[in-house]
């Protein structure tokens, strides 16, 4: 019997059908360095999944940094949930960030604090969040981390940290989910759970962008690739529907 998905209870996310993420000729890079991402254009509606592929260093993480507003475009425009982020004052940009769940490739944690406290951090930061500690526990239970909730985050394995980062990204039920290489090192069983969670979030209305070096089995969405800094739609879909038996 499959574990129940912890996010099925409340499906009131992103009611509008505007593009959740819109990139229009966005060029980005770091400090005075060269452009990493050149003229990226993408339109992602609520509930859509985009898999960004490309070799290491292609610019997948840069794209995610652009979407999570940590990187300002050198050229072009980034529109999130209907707002041009370049025109937003800092307070509004922070508000947009609270609606984005981001799981980094190498996630940071408050290593001295418990796994539970780390995953609950988004709920503490956003006082308007409707999620509770029980939601945190449900999510951790689904990902097989129940026994580790009271352990310091610093004591977790690399795979557990990846799962915990995903849990933290999803716990506040964001409108945009960004996952950077979420399956790296998590184990086969957890891979299925991660894919199910991401799929479930998209079903609830979140726009999901996943960066990975290659295809992810079971993740149903559009495939994009970055080649020479340019984002382009992959000619073939390598995504397969989730195998219900898994």
């Amino acid at each position: 019997m499959q574990s129940p998905l912890p996010l099925l209870v409340d499906a009131a996310i992103a009611p509008d059908r505007l593009a959740a993420v819109r990139l229009e000729g966005a060029t980005a890079g770091y400090d005075a360095g060269p452009d990493i991402l050149i003229g990226a254009t993408m339109d992602l509606k609520p509930g859509a999944i985009a898999l960004i592929t490309g070799p290491s260093g292609a610019g997948k993480s840069t794209l995610l940094h652009l979407v999570r507003t940590a990187l300002a475009p050198r050229e072009g425009r980034v529109t999130l949930l209907g707002s041009d982020v370049a025109r937003l004052p800092d307070a509004s940009r922070a508000g947009i960030r609270r609606r984005i769940g981001y799981a980094a490739q190498e996630p940071l944690f408050l290593d001295d604090e418990t796994l539970f406290d780390n995953v609950a951090l988004p709920l503490n930061i956003d006082p308007t969040s409707r999620q509770t500690g029980q939601d945190v526990m449900d999510l951790l239970a689904f990902l097989g981390l129940t026994r580790d909730t009271s352990r310091p985050a610093g004591a977790l394995s690399a795979g557990q940290r990846k799962l915990a980062a995903l849990a933290r990204a999803l716990v506040a039920r964001p409108d945009i989910v960004l996952a950077d290489d979420p399956l790296a090192g998590v184990g086969a069983d957890a891979e299925t759970k991660v894919v199910r969670l991401l799929t479930e979030l998209s079903r609830l209305g979140a726009a999901v962008i996943v960066a990975a070096s290659g295809p992810i089995s079971g993740l149903n969405g559009d495939v994009w690739r970055i080649r020479d800094g340019r984002l382009e739609r992959a000619p073939e879909s390598v995504l397969k529907p989730l195998d219900p038996a898994r």
């Binding site: 770091y30 940094h65 940590a70 300002a72 307070a91 922070a94 960030r97 408050l110 951090l121 930061i125």
Partner: protein, 281 residues
């Protein structure tokens, strides 16, 4: 509380810094009070010289006349040792009391600082009425050992206190920078800059206030012991009673000033981390 700086190393460091600042501030305050006392003493004291030739009883008559004059707190004959001490201070050279002749000097202390022109006139008239011929002098120069605190000491004390507060500011900032992962995560998770800085400021002020209060309590407990070890006979009650209004103000303000300084330091430390995390490129 999402941010807390209540860590032993930071608490102890801040308590030591604050205790040092408190000791300097109270020390300067004490020196300043002593200097003010000395200046007041000089302003309210006069020396009367009974002019020769005059028998011993003329000196006694003069003392009685002066002691009963309005505004005079005390009038007493000056002994040779005291005279030698004052003359040494005045003239600069060492004077031996045994070498002095009978100077027929009387030290007069007023109840309040007297008018430097009018008071000698009044005292002279009083003595003349009593049939005593005398000259009136000011009390002489203030004791430099007691007035040394004036401006330079105040400035030096203020500079030391400022340096200690700066160290406190840096310590709180360092604590905030050491907690950089939290600021990065907060930035990523959409906490506003002002909310983040406010949380760090609260954490800084909390630990500094507690460290400041601890330093004050320790100072209150330790100071009588130190003074007793130095040979003073002092009780806890008499030490409290000896505190000037400035001392009380310093004691009350110290934890608050420490809290405000640490809050600013923690905010500055968190701001640099938050801003770096907020914009990567």
């Amino acid at each position: 509380m999402l941010v807390s700086f209540l860590r032993p190393w930071l608490f102890v460091s801040l308590a030591i810094l604050i205790a040092a600042a408190l000791a300097v501030a109270l020390g300067v305050s004490g020196l300043n009070a002593r200097a003010a006392d000395e200046r007041a003493r000089v302003a309210s004291a006069f020396t009367v010289r009974v002019l020769p030739p005059a028998p011993e009883e003329t000196l006694e008559k003069a003392v009685a006349a002066l002691a009963s004059a309005p505004g005079v707190q005390s009038a007493r004959p000056m002994d040779a040792t005291r005279a030698a001490q004052l003359l040494s201070r005045w003239g600069g050279g060492q004077i031996n009391a045994a070498d002095l002749p009978s100077l027929r000097l009387i030290e007069v202390r007023l109840a309040a600082a007297g008018d430097p022109v009018r008071t000698p006139t009044l005292l002279t008239e009083r003595l003349r009425t009593a049939g005593v011929a005398a000259e009136i002098y000011g009390a002489g120069p203030a004791d430099p050992g007691r007035t040394a605190s004036s401006r330079m000491v105040l400035l030096a004390g203020a500079a030391v206190c400022a340096a200690l507060l700066l160290a406190l500011w840096f310590a709180a900032g360092a604590a905030a920078r050491a907690d950089r992962v939290r600021a990065i995560l907060w930035s990523d998770l959409g906490a506003g800059r002002s909310a983040t800085l406010a949380a760090y400021g609260r954490a800084g002020s909390e630990v500094a206030f507690l460290a400041g209060a601890t330093a004050v309590i320790l100072a209150v407990l330790v100071a009588p012991g130190v003074r007793m070890a130095a040979g003073e006979t002092i009780s806890f009650g008499s030490m409290i009673a000896s505190l000037s209004p400035w001392d009380v103000l310093i004691v009350l303000v110290t934890p608050l000033a420490a809290a405000a300084t640490a809050a600013l330091g923690a905010r500055a430390g968190a701001a640099s981390t938050f801003d770096q995390a907020d914009r990567l490129g």
